[in-house]
Symmetry: C2
Subunit: 131 residues, 2 copies
């Protein structure tokens, strides 16, 4: 059971690294070797973070990525959402295997509550607090 997958974890590490370096531009190559993350995989991850506006990209020779202005305030919840999509701790109440008792289901109430708790915790952890 994984709440945080590897790409999310790598993304967080990379973001912390970026945040620590301030506005300095870092290439995927350098970051991959310093963080021991497979280079092409990290590249894909950083590209995604760039698309989401958390990083700024500099193309061409001497280029790389740097943190955008929104980086410090970015939360773990944001990152999890980017890489893992909408998060539901269980599909107990959704889709084809939905619980028949739906409305009266006590399990659902507990799961929903737990989901809220987890989400709130993740929303309260910002990159700037991790560096």
């Amino acid at each position: 059971m994984k709440l945080i997958t590897r790409d999310t974890d790598y993304a967080i590490r990379a973001l912390c690294c970026m945040a620590a370096k301030g506005g300095e531009v870092i290439s995927v190559k350098d970051m991959a070797s310093s963080l021991s993350i497979p280079r092409p995989f990290l590249r894909k991850i950083l590209q995604k973070l760039h698309k989401e506006g958390i990083l700024t990209a500099m193309k061409g020779k001497g280029g790389g990525f740097k943190g955008s202005s929104s980086l410090p305030e970015t939360t773990l919840f944001n990152v999890v959402m980017i890489f893992q999509g909408d998060f539901s701790l269980s599909d107990h109440t959704s889709g084809k295997i939905a619980c028949p008792g739906m409305n009266s289901c006590k399990l659902k109430i507990h799961i929903d509550g737990l989901e809220q708790t987890v989400a709130n915790r993740l929303k309260n952890i910002r990159i700037k607090e991790l560096v």
Copy 2:
């Protein structure tokens, strides 16, 4: 991202059903159709719960499963552990991709805390409270 997988979910439903019926013996066949769970899959699940001592099994014609004495006090945490093994919300700090900063890692602290919270919540939900 799933904290509770389908087999765990099915197991909880089945256990609630068992608990509701008191000590009555129910066959996989009946339970599968009443809960709309694929019969062989449910069977595997109930066998596992039996091995763990949560259910009692009656072989032979007219047989089936019934809740053991420990059933009512069984927690969601117990069930999750049985079907999903040791739960770690992230492998940030373990194995080959372990965070280099290990001891000083602030992310680890947050994740560990969250893990504790989730575990405690699950430990406080008993089958008897769900029926």
